[in-house]
């Protein structure tokens, strides 16, 4: 590759526009690559974009067929002599001319329309000879209503509390268990580790009832602790952190011991900072698990004050009537925090894998 290409690839523009062909011509692999990447973007990002766009549609627009890509709303105008704003249509009149008319009311297959410029006279138009005049409009009430009326801010708050507290508890106790299993050598260490990994194979559905009984007998039903505590110790987390801690040079721990550090100080000041990359990975996992958790909160949270977002979303789904516009809007809301967290912590992972500083 030439120097110019090498330098240009360092900027975002250069990176995105990088080609294998030189002098602005495209090599066939460039075409193939961009098509492949474009397909990937469509596949991965398409549903998310569809979700976001749909969340701004009104409930009637959502049910429309064929669906529109952009959220559109019918234009309504104020016409002299009518109290309410009237919807605007494009009507084909009997003489063949096309005109924008406002509809006063609809009677059967006929619609009674009025010309905004000449409000005195009403015109009868068959409904199949008129089309709605629409503009790009976002139905923000999809967001406003649930957040104001249905107490979604409360659910959001609950979800944040569950996620943050549970992740902190998970990180703390998992790293402590991992420290014990990685740093100390004792009889039965491998057996205990095997047991921990073995629990990975037990699906949640199997232990649902026993855990529910335990949680009930501890009186935690309908409190957020019922969601936070049972899943705090995860075999995945212990395994992940333990394997990472095994790679920390033993010399460092022994040096700390010679430096009069207590076991807690070794854990807190030496091992934990060095295990940060693994902790970040576990933090991301934990946040995603907790934020998206549905089944368990649904079981133990029965009062709407303690609902998490996912359970709250479920409430829009009645037996007879599904409020798609609210579900879509609130799904977008639930997506935002995880996306942000991932964006920030992912950067931490890639840059933060600290080399141990030892040869």
């Amino acid at each position: 590759m030439s120097d110019a290409a090498a330098t240009s690839s360092r900027t975002i523009r250069g990176l995105l526009g990088a080609t294998r062909g030189t002098n602005g011509r495209l090599h066939w692999t460039d075409v193939f690559t961009y098509m492949y990447l474009g397909f990937g973007v469509l596949l991965m990002f398409g549903p998310v974009i569809w979700l976001v766009l749909s969340s701004f549609k009104t409930s009637s627009a959502l049910l429309e067929f064929p669906p529109t890509f952009l959220p559109l709303g019918q234009i309504e105008i104020q016409v002299e002599g009518y109290d309410d704003p009237l919807p605007l249509f494009e009507a084909t009149l009997e003489d063949g001319s096309v005109k924008q008319l406002a509809q006063v009311r609809r009677i059967g297959i006929m619609s009674q329309m009025v010309d905004p410029e000449n409000p005195g006279e009403t015109i009868q138009v068959p409904i199949n000879r008129r089309t709605e005049v629409r503009e790009f409009r976002m139905a923000l009430e999809n967001y406003r209503d649930p957040l104001e009326r249905f107490d979604f801010t409360r659910y959001l708050y609950n979800s944040v509390v569950v996620t943050v507290v549970a992740t902190l508890v998970t990180l703390l106790i998992n790293s402590m268990a991992a420290y014990g299993l990685a740093i100390y050598e004792f009889r039965g260490r491998a057996a205990i580790m095997l047991l921990v990994i073995g629990t990975l194979m037990i699906p949640i559905t199997v232990i649902l009832v026993p855990v529910y009984l335990v949680v009930t007998s501890m009186g935690m039903i309908n409190s957020l602790w019922a969601v936070i505590l049972p899943g705090a110790a995860t075999p995945t987390g212990v395994f992940l952190l333990r394997q990472y801690m095994l790679t920390i040079p033993r010399d460092l721990i022994e040096a700390a011991r010679m430096d009069k550090a207590s076991e807690w100080a070794i854990y807190w000041k030496v091992v934990l900072p060095l295990a940060m990359p693994a902790m970040a990975v576990l933090a991301i996992f934990s946040i995603m698990w907790r934020w998206n958790d549905f089944l368990w909160p649904l079981i133990v949270l029965n009062r709407s004050e303690v609902y998490t977002l996912q359970v709250g979303l479920n409430a829009f789904q009645g037996e007879l009537d599904v409020q798609w516009h609210y579900i879509l809007a609130m799904t977008v809301v639930t997506l935002i925090p995880v996306t942000l967290v991932f964006a920030f912590l992912q950067k931490f992972i890639t840059t933060g894998i600290a080399s141990s500083g030892m040869k």
Binding site: D251, E254, A256, A354, S356, G357
Partner: protein
């Protein structure tokens, strides 16, 4: 000032004994070097003293207190590791202050101690860097500084120079010697490099396969090795050792070994007909005229260093012979060389490798 005493210390991993009953006293303020080939148990012994390794039986006594059950953190020793073991996430300052913070010293005193150690080791400019940003020699100094600030009862060094290049190793060796002269603490130093041992030590402990072969001052070990292992291990290049048989001679014994027959005074413990071996250091082999020579060998390689010359010679029935002479010798490869063994520096060992005689008068 600290005296460290080991008595009957044994260590086994499962059914494998690695340390077979070590008795040793390291006097207060002494620079003691454990030296031996890889796997001889010298690092294990150091870690036993440090408290990082349990012992199977025996006693470790520091300043009169038996410390067998006292954990490493409470023994008051400081250790410098081969890998330096600097905490990679802490600045140099933090690395050095870590031990003091754990001892709950006041901030001002920590600051003062770290700064004075940094001045001593010329690290003032690096205090706020991470270990990653330092060169090998600087990291080594930080590791030593971390030990110094603690003002420990004794310093333990586990092959601290083995990760440095040859030139830096010589420099650091001198700095360590100066440091010991400066602060005068008890130091135990593990190395497999006998040159380091000879140059640094007040007392050398030669270990092999978990046993002490000899303890003594560097020159004691050089002049009076107690057995063939120490004789071969101490000194560079290593001593020439020949298997021989004792025969009765006119005024004592004749040691016969291939083409070489050497008359020596009578030796206690060696009777005619006994198998034995004798050793002569390369620097004690003279190149002489033919009529004075004990053996004649052909030179297979001559290394001319200008100030000194090394000759590697072959003779039938003998292992390769190394001779070291000062100055420049005009010996070509393949040339016959007449060698005379200096009787005052001849070492004779019995069939078990124990020393029978170290040098003969005249």
């Amino acid at each position: 000032m600290t005296e460290i005493r080991l008595s009957e210390v044994k260590k086994a991993y499962g059914s494998v004994d690695v340390i077979h009953g070590i008795d040793l006293v390291v006097d207060s303020g002494e620079f003691c070097v454990f030296v031996g080939p890889s796997g001889c148990g010298k690092s294990t012994l150091l870690r036993i003293i440090a408290g990082l390794e349990d012992i199977t039986s025996g006693k470790v006594v520091i300043d009169g207190d038996t410390v067998n059950t006292i954990p490493a953190s409470e023994r008051g020793l400081a250790m410098v590791f081969q890998s330096y073991a600097l905490y990679p996430h802490m600045s140099i300052y933090k690395n050095m202050a870590f031990g003091l913070e754990n001892s709950k010293l006041p901030r001002a005193e920590i600051d003062e101690r770290v700064n004075s150690a940094a001045r001593m080791l010329q690290l003032q400019d690096y205090l706020h860097r991470k270990p990653k940003a330092l060169s090998g020699g600087q990291r080594q100094r930080v590791a030593i500084g971390r030990a110094i600030v603690r003002d420990p009862k004794a310093f333990l060094f586990d092959e601290p120079l083995s990760n440095l290049d040859a030139e830096l190793r010589v420099t650091m060796r001198k700095e360590l010697a100066a440091l010991h002269a400066d602060i005068g603490g008890t130091m135990i130093y593990v190395t497999h490099d006998q040159v380091e041992a000879m140059t640094l030590a007040d007392k050398i402990v030669v270990l092999q396969a978990g046993r002490i072969e000899q303890v003594g001052t560097p020159l004691d070990l050089y002049n009076k090795p107690q057995n063939v292992f120490v004789a071969g291990f101490i000194g560079s290049p290593r001593m020439n050792i020949f298997d021989a048989t004792a025969e009765a001679g006119e005024s004592g014994l004749i040691l016969r070994c291939g083409p070489c027959a050497m008359a020596v005074p009578p030796i206690e413990g060696l009777a005619p007909g006994d198998a034995c071996s004798f050793g002569i250091r390369p620097e004690h082999l003279d190149v002489t005229e033919n009529h004075e020579a004990d053996l004649v060998a052909s030179c297979s390689l001559a290394e001319q260093l200008g100030g000194e010359t090394y000759l590697y010679c072959d003779a039938e029935g003998l292992p390769q012979i190394t001779a070291h002479r000062p100055g420049q010798l005009s010996v070509a490869e393949g040339q016959e060389v007449a060698l005379r063994i200096d009787r005052t520096n001849l070492h004779v060992f019995d069939r078990n490798g124990q020393t029978l005689a170290n040098g003969f008068a005249g």
